[in-house]
């Protein structure tokens, strides 16, 4: 049973560029959440997707956008990258109507130079 998989694991971008991060949820899960974890901090909720719609959004600017596909996989896009966007981006999946337990991937480490 494959868990949550994320790609790429590491990437380096320069300021002003755009990045796309990808997530495949755990088998059987239909909901995907994205979190940003800055160095030495706890994860911060970016947004959650269910039925291809953004269900809730945290305190992040519009430069952060997402998408969920019919197979429940998801993408996180960040435009006009800033140095402060350097962080570990975690994807978590869950099953709506279940216990709500989140299963996390290993994250994508983004460095903005």
């Amino acid at each position: 049973d494959a868990g949550v998989t994320q790609s790429p694991t590491h990437l380096i971008k320069t300021r002003g560029q755009q990045v796309t991060l990808r997530c495949s949820p755990k088998s059987g899960h239909d909901t995907v959440s994205w979190y940003q974890q800055a160095l030495g901090q706890g994860p911060q909720f970016i947004f959650q997707y269910y039925e291809e719609e953004e269900r809730q959004r945290g305190n992040f600017p519009d430069r952060f956008s997402g998408h969920q596909f019919p197979n429940y996989s998801s993408e996180l896009n960040v435009n006009a990258l800033l140095l402060g966007d350097s962080a570990l981006y975690l994807c978590a999946s869950s099953l709506t109507g279940g216990t709500g337990e989140l299963f996390f991937g290993e994250g994508s480490r983004l460095t903005v130079l």
């Binding site: 909901t31 030495g40 480490r109």
Partner: protein, 116 residues
């Protein structure tokens, strides 16, 4: 707004000993969940233990147990018989029970070192 506070940035314990990690939270809600997650160097966040606020009994999972004090808004994690594999970053997290999503609010974490 709900907040989670972990006041111990780092802790250290000898192998086979017991350690307690502290967490306090602030919420005006009465129905919620509390969690402890472990994040080893591999970066994957792993659920250690969870507590439903309506349950008075403290949750236990093998060597891991919690001390849940609802009135004091305190939720500490006790690790008994510490093992080298317990070394990791530990995060306390809160989730509102009735929310539209299962969004988690995390504390800043406690880095646990286990000495052989």
């Amino acid at each position: 707004a709900q907040t989670v506070t972990q006041s111990q940035p780092e802790m250290s314990v000898q192998e086979a000993e017991t350690v307690t990690l502290s967490c306090t939270y602030d919420t005006s809600e009465s129905d919620y969940y509390l969690f402890w997650y472990k994040q080893p160097p591999s970066r994957q966040m792993i659920l250690v233990i969870r507590q439903e606020a309506y349950k008075q009994q403290n949750a236990t999972e093998n060597r891991f147990s919690v001390n849940f004090q609802k009135a004091a808004k305190s939720f500490s994690l006790k690790i008994s018989d510490s093992q080298l594999g317990d070394a990791a970053m530990y995060f306390c997290a809160y989730r509102y029970y009735g929310g539209a999503t299962n969004k988690l609010i995390f504390g800043t974490g406690t880095l646990l070192a286990v000495q052989p």
